[in-house]
């Protein structure tokens, strides 16, 4: 039980993050508990949130949640039920009622100081197009098409393209996807190991996997390679043809795999 309570407070601490908005919320809640006289308002911003807080810290609810609902890692989402923004804004309005202009400036400054600007995150970058996908991904995926209509394109792309390729065109299948590249999920994937994590890209090893006959018409026909990737040999020596370049990436087409697909589908409706 002690461990459960520790877990609950650890989640609360992580949720608080680097700012003091949670502290500000608790201050606003206490203020409204003392000052607010309107019964409806007290019900909404004081009593119901207090009840939800009690449920949140209750070890019984924690056990039910973890055992029957979702993982420990999402327990923080229970805090979404607390009307933090509403409570802080309402308490602020109550505090500054008689000195609105200066009061509003002070409140804005307090929220800014206690919070953190959304776009200060390191992963925030300028959008390159309406898809909000890097332009080089769009350019390269546009070049990927199958010679035979109705046959899916299989592609092998570097880690930085894995998340975006199928958001742009879902008809492109990937030899490995997000499940292989998320370190916390820890799945083993031989294609990913050979193509992405190997220090030097050994084409013989990669092509042996991607052209394996058991893949049938699912053999890989397109490869995207970063320009500065260490490779043991020139891709052209292995039957790969450069199709396009965009950004720091080169798109190759595996002509051997393409021919193999045609061979497999010979005398079928696909070829007619």
């Amino acid at each position: 039980m002690v461990d459960n309570i520790k877990d609950v407070f650890r989640e609360l601490w992580q949720y608080r993050g680097s700012g003091f908005l949670l502290v500000l919320y608790i201050a606003a809640l206490i203020y409204l508990l003392i000052v607010e006289k309107n019964k409806r308002n007290r019900y909404l911003v004081c009593y119901v949130p207090l009840c939800i807080l009690l449920i949140y810290i209750s070890p019984v609810y924690y056990r039910i949640y973890v055992l029957g609902i979702d993982a420990v890692g999402t327990y923080y989402r229970n805090l979404w039920m607390l009307p933090m923004a509403v409570t802080v804004a309402f308490a602020s309005c109550s505090v500054i009622y008689r000195h609105r202009r200066i009061g509003a400036l002070v409140i804005c400054a307090v929220i800014i100081l206690c919070g953190k600007f959304t776009y200060s995150a390191v992963e925030s970058v300028k959008a390159e197009n309406a898809y909000h996908i890097p332009q080089y991904v769009c350019d390269l995926v546009d070049e990927m098409d199958q010679d035979i209509e109705g046959v899916e394109v299989y592609a092998c792309v570097p880690l930085e393209m894995v998340f975006y390729t199928r958001q742009y065109d879902s008809s492109i299948c990937l030899i490995y996807g997000r499940e292989a590249v998320e370190p916390v999920w820890g799945y083993e994937n031989e294609y990913y190991d050979a193509y992405e994590t190997a220090e030097v890209l050994e084409w013989d090893e990669v092509l042996e996997l991607t052209r394996a006959p058991e893949r049938g018409i699912g053999v890989v026909t397109y490869f995207v390679v970063p320009k500065d990737r260490n490779m043991d040999s020139d891709p052209a020596e292995h039957g790969l043809t450069e199709i396009a370049r965009s950004g720091d990436y080169i798109l190759y087409k595996d002509t051997v795999a393409s021919e193999y697909i045609k061979e497999v589908l010979k005398d079928t409706l696909y070829m007619e």
Partner: protein
Amino acid sequence: MIIYQIIMCILILAVIPVCMGMNVVSGIRQRSLVLCLIYGYLLMMVSFELVTVPILLLTDYGNFKYVLWIYTPIIIFLSLSGLFLANKKGFLPQIRTDVNKTVLGVIKNREQLIVWSIAFVLLAVMLVLVSTRVIFDGDDAYYVTQSLIAQQKGSMYASDPYTGKATAIDMRHALAVFTMWISYVGTVCKVHTTILCHSILPLVFIPFAVIIYAKTGALLLKDKKEMLGYFVIFIEIFIMFGRVSMYTPEAFLIARTWQGKAVAANILIPITILGLFLVADTYYSDSNKTTPVWILLALTNAAAGVFSSLAVIFACVMIGSGGVVLAILKRKVKIVVNACLCCLPGVLYMLLYLYYMYFGWRSL
């Protein structure tokens, strides 16, 4: 084409929800245009869930075309019936009067004009930022791609979004059909769902979240109406500076607006809070007409499942605790009974979810 896309987006994301909302809001004491928009969206989601889930579970590969064929006439019918009902109950003239009164109230008062102008500028800044900046989120590879598969291939949850391989339905996510709703909007408006998710929906859902907060603020500040503009400014600053950790609703609203859990945190939960206030307001006014407001709460509960299965739990916990607290305050046991009845859609959803999780897909 672009004119068609703009008109259809305005129609589906603004006009139709308002008309649909008139079905449920026309009968309540606190009825307003904003409440029509809010509950119209919920009605839109619930009707979508009722159409999509049976198709998903009973047709081969979850044939998305059936959704298009069945859902479109339903929302047209519900919009028309909403308009008819509002007209019958004298709600349409009231909307016109209310809007005129509010706009004139702001324009005539210099302080209010300045405060509301600042609030609109802040909102505009937020919308410019979400349109021009990108915050990477790995979950997009799942949610956005699911929507795109339905749009481009016409099947629902039949292939793995990460690789494209054929797969069995992922029941953990499948009942939360918000991704398919996005796909529906994208298909009807002829907009690529990735563009819809990343460039259009934030322009709709962020102002929508602010509107919901503003409505709650308007009810809380009933005796200090002149403070509402300040309230909205504080809310907007809170959203803009709310990313103290990657777990807050504000962080989700800005970085993942189009994902079901973000909508649950920033739209559904605030609507539940608003619904609880409407219920409390009705009881404190000693009004006899309590059923319509309970229906609004039940609608909120039913809509939760569209966004995420977790949202169903949250909606039930909030409505349950809100009901118990109000029952104690008003000393009326019936309030708890009503609250439990409002949670019934959520309970049914969870039973279906658990059934498929434990016995597997197509086990019926």
